[in-house]
């Protein structure tokens, strides 16, 4: 099978999976089998591209649609996209296992619709990852938004509908009013001959245009601003409102989409456009991205502070996600090769850690019907596996060795020092350093009390009348797997770092 076919199949298989799931809707066991097989095959397809990409091979593919003649829908696999695609498709496997346990354990309605929407989201995530030009990226970005709306509004009550409105409102407004405007603006610069193309290229599209003055720094900076805030999925404040709202969805959705696929699509796109559209060197030369360091740093601190005061476990995790996403943005905004690598590594580290945490939260909900942090006293004794995994995830988020979160934070610090070395001591680097230190403390502040409650506080009187054990086996299996991977990546950091290095290599 040629690589080109593989790329297309990586999107085609999930879509075929959707059709199969809908067709098998009446037989739940067959339907779930279809989900599992689709997930495995998709991952295998994406993973099979890895050796060629690491070897620096160019893999390109195209789709015969001409939505706009002259603007092709084209794909090119490069290391950064590979990282995102791998993370998304790999984690879909445990999530599918988990989702089966969760949906059945909870006796949810509309399960076919639920399982049918997932593969569409995956297909569009892969499309974003492998996109070759800004148009293709925008296209799949929008499909991802729409395919996840039915998952957010799954419950169908007024609360879910309200959240659905916020979700769609923020994501679509930002992407249409800001991102599409930037895309069209860049395209119209291309049509007027000011820039050479709209494909992602190393060094960015504007290198010569800015140096010759064809594109003024002001326009360049405005485009960058439009694009960054147009990527609402990256949840840089004040575009973050949709993420807490999305927490009304069933936990597998929050775990996989709103900790991995959707939010990582946002930050992945940020890194991708910083590297391949605007260009690290051009941004550094014009200084138009300095504000992003502050925006990201501010988001990290403010979101962490809000997380401290959330009693609802999923809401606390959501604000933690907002803050962690901005680490990736911060890495991109620091504009050094190592900080870009740190951003990549953090995409991986956060994905594995946060999905574990959400899995645990959902597991607690299914087994004990508890949603608030204050209800979790002593639950660690009843659900040792779940809370054990939770602890691993939490420690990884804080950045404690021996977990992968430490690797990413360490790399980010290296990025900061490299930034100082490259550009002299800028005030941005100092700020970034302060943010990283402070936020680590805050992370500890909102995660450790949960662990403490679970293991060291006696269960409340009321709980003794409601005995419960662990949640269903598929869920426990899934969350132990992701927790295990979090540990594994520290023991074997080469897996993550070599990918990061490849990204760094390709990007700068």
């Amino acid at each position: 099978m040629s690589h080109e076919t593989t790329v297309l199949l990586a999107m085609g298989v999930p879509l075929a999976g959707t059709a199969l799931i809908v067709a098998l809707g009446r037989w739940p066991n067959l339907r779930e089998t279809a989900t599992m097989i689709t997930a495995l095959v998709t991952f295998a397809l994406v993973a099979s591209l890895l050796p060629a990409v690491m070897a620096g091979q160019q893999i390109e593919a195209g789709l015969g649609l001409s939505i706009i003649p002259g603007v092709p829908i084209a794909f090119r696999v490069e290391p950064l996209g590979m990282v995102y695609a791998l993370v998304a498709t790999l984690l879909w496997i445990p999530n599918s296992v988990y989702a089966v346990g969760y949906m059945r354990g909870n006796q949810e309605h509309h399960q076919t619709r639920f399982f049918a929407c997932f593969p569409v989201a995956i297909a569009s995530a892969v499309g974003i990852a492998f996109s070759k030009n800004i148009f293709t990226m925008f296209l799949f970005y929008e499909i991802l938004t729409f395919s996840t709306v039915p998952l957010v509004t799954h419950k169908g009550n007024s609360d879910a509908m309200r959240s659905g409105r916020v979700y769609l409102g923020v994501l679509l407004t930002s992407s249409v009013c800001l991102q599409l405007l930037a895309v069209l603006w860049i395209y119209s610069l291309y049509r007027q001959g000011d820039i050479a193309g709209i494909d992602f290229v190393r060094g960015g599209l504007f290198e010569s245009a800015v140096s010759t003055g064809a594109v003024t720094p002001a326009v360049f900076g405005l485009l960058f601003f439009l694009y960054i805030y147009g990527l609402g999925k990256a949840a840089i404040m004040p575009m973050h409102k949709w993420l807490p709202a999305a927490m009304v969805a069933p936990t597998p959705v929050s775990a996989f989409l709103h900790a991995v696929a959707v939010v990582k699509a946002g930050v992945f796109c940020v890194v991708k456009i910083v590297v391949y559209v605007f260009g690290v060197d051009t941004l550094r030369a014009t200084g138009q991205s300095a504000w992003l360091v502050y925006a990201a740093g501010g988001t990290i601190l403010i979101a962490s502070l809000i997380a401290l005061f959330q009693d609802n476990l999923k809401k606390r995790l959501a604000y933690s996600t907002i803050s962690q996403l901005s680490y990736v943005v911060l890495g991109a905004a620091l504009l050094t090769p190592i900080s870009i690598m740190a951003a990549t590594v953090h995409i991986i580290a956060h994905a594995f850690g946060k999905i574990t945490l959400f899995f645990a939260a959902g597991s607690v909900y299914v087994a004990a019907h508890k949603t608030q942090v204050s209800q979790l006293d002593g639950i660690g004794r009843r659900m040792p596996w779940t809370m054990g995994a939770f602890t691993i995830g939490a420690l990884s988020m804080i950045g404690v060795p021996p977990l992968v979160g430490f690797v990413s934070k360490w790399t980010l610090l290296r990025g900061v020092t490299e930034g100082v070395a490259l550009g002299g001591s800028r005030i941005e680097e100092t700020f970034a350093l302060v943010v990283i230190v402070l936020s680590t403390l805050l992370n500890a502040g909102y995660f450790l009390p949960i662990v403490y409650r679970a293991f060291f506080r006696p269960p409340s009187r009321e709980d003794e009348h409601h005995p419960h054990g662990e949640s269903p086996a598929p869920m426990v299996f899934a969350l132990c797997t992701t927790a295990g991977l979090t540990v594994l990546f520290f023991v074997w950091p080469k897996a993550v770092l070599s990918l990061g290095a490849a990204v760094m290599e390709a990007a700068t």
Partner: protein, 508 residues
């Protein structure tokens, strides 16, 4: 066959005129629909052939002499890339809606009036097709009145369901007649200075007059400007360009369902065509845009239409009225494309004439299906219909996504070109307004979608079934077409590019 080929342009108008008369005379007992259907299918075939001829013949305009009287003495029918496209659109919609109208009309119009209905139905199309194909300014007026007069009556036929159809009709009659009179008055002014009624001839003679304006002795300056102003105001009334749109919402809301679908997708589109025709081929953009700067007036009206129409749509509870207000906004898109005076913008206008005809046609027809089965089209009537009438509602949803301009729907293609055109013109604000308009469209569409898919039908409400096949098929046809032209816009882009190049007199 030779005869047909030779007289294609005349047959397009003559055929429905004759069959319309025949229908009025002998169309009792159900024969009316058959005649109308046969005639509109034949007209569609003729128009498709015309379009194919033009597309094959390069960017040429072909003049057909009625009765072989030479231009400018006789009336000439002109076929060029622009009006061939509009003709095909009108004929296509006419054909599909006629198919649809049989059942829906039978429910709304008393049987002893049905032959009149079908006669007027055809006269309305005679007028619209005639306006599009004629090359004579006075003939344009006559055909405008033929279409308008039959439209007033068709709208009034909704009186059986709601008596407000009558007041809507007389309102439209008064406003429409004044608009037509303004147009007639404008033509008189142009006739005073050129002594010709043939559009191409007027254009040629105006050039001599314009040539004197740069000198010390400008002639007929005020007369030409006044004539142009009267024509524009008259056509704006027909087009329902904000703020001259007041007749439209009630007329669309209370007309029979099929009539609304026909009007919404053809009548205003022909008005837009008249706009383009007068500006680009009669007075010329040099006079209208670069001498008078009326493009700014048009731009401001268009922006107000987009914002005003969409904001009003958000407040409606009657879905037909909601769509009517949305049409006012969409007309703003077309007007903005016309005003932007470059290839991309004009392409946007022409593509949107077609795409919006498909989209709105599908939506109004879907609403008509609801009216047929449920008996009302307030938002509460839509609740829970996603399960009861899945196909109809799918068509409605596809249309709604098209109004928002979601990628892969026809609306996105229009929006892409439109924003591209306004950006090229340097109208940043207008580009922003277009994108804000999409978000507003999201708001009103989402209100419907929430009702359809997440609302619950009231307890004890009568059981409803899917719409009858003869209504469902045409509805789905347009919906699927709008998806198709959203995914493969080669055809629409090519034709519109040809037309735009023709109008601007530039080589592709």
């Amino acid at each position: 066959m030779d005869f047909v080929h030779q007289h294609l342009p005349a047959l397009v108008v003559a055929l429905p005129l004759v069959t319309g008369l025949v229908t009025a005379m002998v169309g009792r007992r159900g024969a009316g629909w058959w005649i109308a259907m046969g005639s509109s299918a034949a007209v569609f075939a003729l128009c498709a052939q015309l379009l194919a001829n033009v597309a094959g013949g390069g960017s040429q305009s072909v003049t057909y002499l009625l009765g072989n009287w030479p231009i400018p003495y006789g009336i000439g029918l002109v076929v060029d890339p622009l009006n061939a496209a509009v003709l095909a659109t009108v004929a296509l919609i006419g054909c599909v809606v006629t198919l649809y109208a049989r059942r829906s009309m039978a429910q709304e119009v008393p049987e002893d009036r049905s032959h009149f209905f079908w006669a007027l139905w055809q006269f309305c199309q005679v007028g619209l097709l005639g306006i599009t194909i004629t090359g004579d300014a006075f003939n344009f007026y006559v055909l405008l009145e033929i279409s308008s007069l039959s439209t007033y009556t068709l709208i009034a036929m909704g009186k059986g369901r709601d008596r407000r159809a009558l007041t809507a009709a007389i309102n439209y009659l008064v406003i429409g007649s004044i608009g037509a009179c303004f147009y007639l008055l404008g033509v008189a002014y142009l006739y005073m200075v050129t002594g010709s009624l043939n559009m191409a001839d007027i254009h040629a003679r105006l050039q001599d007059i314009f040539a004197t304006w740069g000198t010390d002795a400008p002639v007929y300056r005020k007369t030409v400007i006044a004539g142009f102003a009267f024509i524009m105001v008259g056509l704006s009334l027909k087009l329902a360009l904000f703020p001259l749109h007041l007749w439209l919402p009630n007329a669309y809301t209370y007309a029979p369902a099929a009539v609304t679908a026909l009007l919404a997708s053809t009548a205003t589109k022909v008005g837009a065509y008249g706009f383009i025709r007068v500006i680009y081929t009669v007075v010329g953009p040099d006079f209208a845009w670069r001498y008078l700067h009326s493009d700014y007036i048009l731009m401001i009206c268009a922006m107000m239409a987009i914002l005003g129409g969409s904001l009003m749509a958000i407040r409606q509870v009657n879905v037909k009225k909601l769509l009517a207000y949305s049409s006012i906004g969409q007309i703003g898109y077309i007007a903005l494309g016309i005003a932007s005076d470059n290839v991309y913008g004009l392409q946007a206008a022409i593509i949107h004439i077609f795409n919006h005809a498909l989209t709105k046609g599908a939506m109004f027809m879907a609403v008509g299906c609801v009216l047929y089965r449920v008996g009302g089209v307030r938002l509460e009537h839509l609740r829970g219909l996603g399960r009861k009438m899945p196909l109809t509602m799918a068509a409605f949803t596809i249309g709604g996504l098209g109004l928002i301009g979601v990628p892969m729907t026809a609306g996105f293609v229009s929006k892409w070109y439109l924003v591209g055109g306004t950006l090229e013109r340097g109208w940043m604000g207008a580009a922003g307004v277009v994108l804000v308009g999409s978000v507003l469209a999201l708001v009103y569409t989402w209100r419907c979608i929430e009702s359809i898919y997440f609302g619950k039908r009231e307890e004890g409400a009568p059981e409803v079934r899917e719409a009858p096949l003869s209504m469902l098929v045409p509805t789905l046809l347009l919906a699927v077409a709008s998806l198709y032209f959203g995914m493969d816009s080669r055809l629409t882009s090519d034709i519109s590019a040809q037309a735009a190049h023709f109008l601007l007199g530039v080589r592709p």
